[in-house]
Symmetry: C2
Subunit: 198 residues, 2 copies
Amino acid sequence: MKLPAPLEAVIEALQQLPGVGAKSAQRMALHLLKEGPEAMNHLGDLLHHAAEKVGFCECCGAFADQPLCPVCADPRRDPAVLMVVAEASNVLSFERGGHFRGRYHVLGGLISPLKGLGPDQLRIRELLKRLEDGAIREIVLATNPTLDGEATAAWLARILEPVGMSVSRIGVGLPIGSDLEYADDLTLDRALEGRRKV
Amino acid sequence: MKLPAPLEAVIEALQQLPGVGAKSAQRMALHLLKEGPEAMNHLGDLLHHAAEKVGFCECCGAFADQPLCPVCADPRRDPAVLMVVAEASNVLSFERGGHFRGRYHVLGGLISPLKGLGPDQLRIRELLKRLEDGAIREIVLATNPTLDGEATAAWLARILEPVGMSVSRIGVGLPIGSDLEYADDLTLDRALEGRRKV
């Protein structure tokens, strides 16, 4: 006996989600089924609602259910400082801390020759357009400290510095609460390189 | 900044699924959002479709998108042997093996005084009704070898034996491919108890 086809279809779709394998997708679907049709319909409704309502900020590319995201719509945010991140979810990480008072620009990915992603596939034209009126004076490059993230930051720094921008890169080093013993060599190297006067 | 409310609602609903925590629910929702509204709508449609089509077999209680599940509808299955399981998903596990040729009865849970589940909350009345016409002669109790599973099996055996049924319990012991070294004491005890002549 196989599972009914409509249930198999749900399991297959759940399996496409990150971190969900065949077993956990089946467990989720069977759980929903056990809860009754209301539970399934409820999740279905929520998904349709989110698909209809949630999109991306016209200005920075972060998640928004309005034309502008809450950060771009907030007049108290510093218009002179712009943080460039790869993904819309990165904005959430910085906003959780709540210490950055500038605005954001989401690239929508990283330059990655291996994945065939070049500058043209990213929101770089939009970034340059935002710099045109001269309000932005400082740019913080906050892509991940990975191969692609570093390459993208270096590439951006090269095109942004000639425009007269003050460009910085987020600090790299040992994370707070970590142990020297478990840090990898590259992180230690970079932590030493990035040392600051006390 | 918080996530847009419709997205938060999706994340909250995903978190109700088994094995899904706050972080993975957010990751899933953001993945869907990044894929575009079509991906979200697609999953929503599949859920609605499954909620509408998939239910439980009128006879045995297994998953079915027809009044009868494929097993109950199959005239080649042995009508004299009935396997009693706790959950509809247990039927799938046995059907995967494909060696059991009888039919099933899903209890919809186990007797558990701690969870306030007594025989009346399970499909036991339906089970007794199926035994009335005398076609079923053998019953295999295939609840999990756990506290509740054993208690439910013992309880069922006590009420089924007086009706003149041949009642058996699935074998308990070392799983195939396992190592004596890692088996727990109770399993070893039961494996010894359940030894069979070669």
